[in-house]
Amino acid sequence: MSESLAITKLSDLANPTRFLVLASRVLPWLSAVTALLFATGLYLSFAGEGDYQQGLTVRIMYVHVPAAWLSMMCYTVMALSAIGTLVWRHPLADVAHKTAAPLGAAFTLIALATGSLWGKPMWGTWWVWDARLTSVFVLFLMYLGLIALNRAMDDPGKAARLCAILILVGFVNIPIIKFSVDWWNTLHQPASVIRMGGSSIDASFLRPLLVMALAFTMLFFTLHIAAMRNEIWRRRVSAQRRMAARMAGDKPGLTTEKST
């Protein structure tokens, strides 16, 4: 089985039309699973008792940590789609990283907001310029920059390719966020769940945390697939509009249409 055959198969699967069919089929299921996970996660997080050190505020962790993880995962998803755009020039990859940017920005915003809400009772201040916090803030700015770049260009293909390059170059920030706590001694908690040598967190906190993390992940995928579907529809509409205008004008060679 040759490699090219595998690639054709993959791109066949990822054909926009087929994607639409697939999306409509899985979206209801995904939404249901997400809702179920959130219900369980919320129940677990409010049923458990507080930490001896951090009191009840440990409950913020169940939102903060999954959101923080997702803010990085979303960027990783974008980086993978960026490779798809640049290497295979696949239109679906364009759509994937374009629609992921606002989602990533939103999750980063959640992590920032809940983090500073946690910081006030724990550290006594809303915001400190420590490495972890600032690098997450920088990630937020990068999401906004990518959104701005996407909006500044009106040829979607070109915008996708240029954004893809920037996403890949900006990927260096992700390890910085992840390891910033190890490189600089800061106020922020070092990694205790995902790290070498196994988790060091108590199981009674771990269970709700993992369920909530799963719930957030499912939420991301549900929204992402739905947003991709929207984007495909948007492009389809604009293509058909241009076609229609062209038919109406019927002056071949003189006219061009470009919907905005």
Binding site: T125, W127, V128, W129, D130, T134, F137, V138, L141, L144
Partner: protein, 219 residues
């Protein structure tokens, strides 16, 4: 003239120049500072007004040089020079559009940055006020530089020598007025009034100088 204002505003929003980006840039600049200075909140709040002002000056400088250049490169400037509207007015409107598109958003965003820099309310208010009064002066000074730059095919260096020294007083009085508002012994009003005077002075001199430079740009 309203048409010109509108067009220039549209241009500044349309393509990568807009309010959103200016503010984003401003935030980014300020966010970078603590990396250098370190997370010492006291120190940050002390240098806060200066940093916010420097950020504003920088974003003002970044867009300025292209103020007339794009119009010259595509030939629009020729047509503007031919009209009966007094050229000074045209320049003034272009300055205004530039300030609304690039300066005002900075003023509006400055309180947020003040919070980041851990400044107290008075300092934030004072900085915002001085920015509101001072940034137009930067635009007017920049207009002269931009106009001179347009005219001289090899005059680039002259522009830089021209613009920054003139902008420095604005920066100095802006910063010192902001500080005066917080620190007790120093009175707020004198430097602030000087700032107002500088802005009004350049509001007249800037467009006049720019118009003169453009008229002599004959080529």
């Amino acid at each position: 003239m309203a048409a010109l204002l509108l067009r220039d505003l549209k241009l500044s929003v349309r393509a990568g120049g807009g309010a959103l980006i200016g503010v984003l840039f401003f935030i980014t600049v300020v966010a970078v500072i603590p990396f250098g200075v370190g997370p010492d909140l006291n120190l940050l709040s002390r240098i806060g007004p200066a940093i916010v002002w420097i950020g504003a000056l920088l974003s003002a400088l970044l867009g300025l040089d292209r103020m007339f250049q794009t119009d010259r490169e595509d030939g629009s400037l020729d047509l503007m020079l031919m009209q009966e509207h007094p050229l000074v007015l045209t320049v003034l409107v272009k300055c205004l559009a530039h300030w609304i598109g690039n300066g005002l958003p900075l003023v509006i965003a400055s309180p947020l940055l003040g919070l980041f820099m851990n400044m107290d309310e008075v300092a934030i208010g004072a900085t915002m006020l001085t920015l509101l009064v001072g940034t137009p002066a930067l635009t007017f000074i920049g207009a002269v530089g931009a106009a001179v730059a347009v005219t001289l095919p090899r005059g680039g260096l002259l522009v830089s020598i021209l613009v920054l020294p003139l902008a420095v007083p604005v920066l100095i009085f802006g910063v010192s007025a902001s500080y005066a508002a917080v620190e007790d012994p120093a009175p707020f009003l004198p430097p602030f009034l000087i700032l107002v005077a500088i802005t009004m002075f350049f509001a007249v001199l800037g467009p006049l100088g720019a118009a003169l430079a453009l008229r002599n740009a004959d080529d």
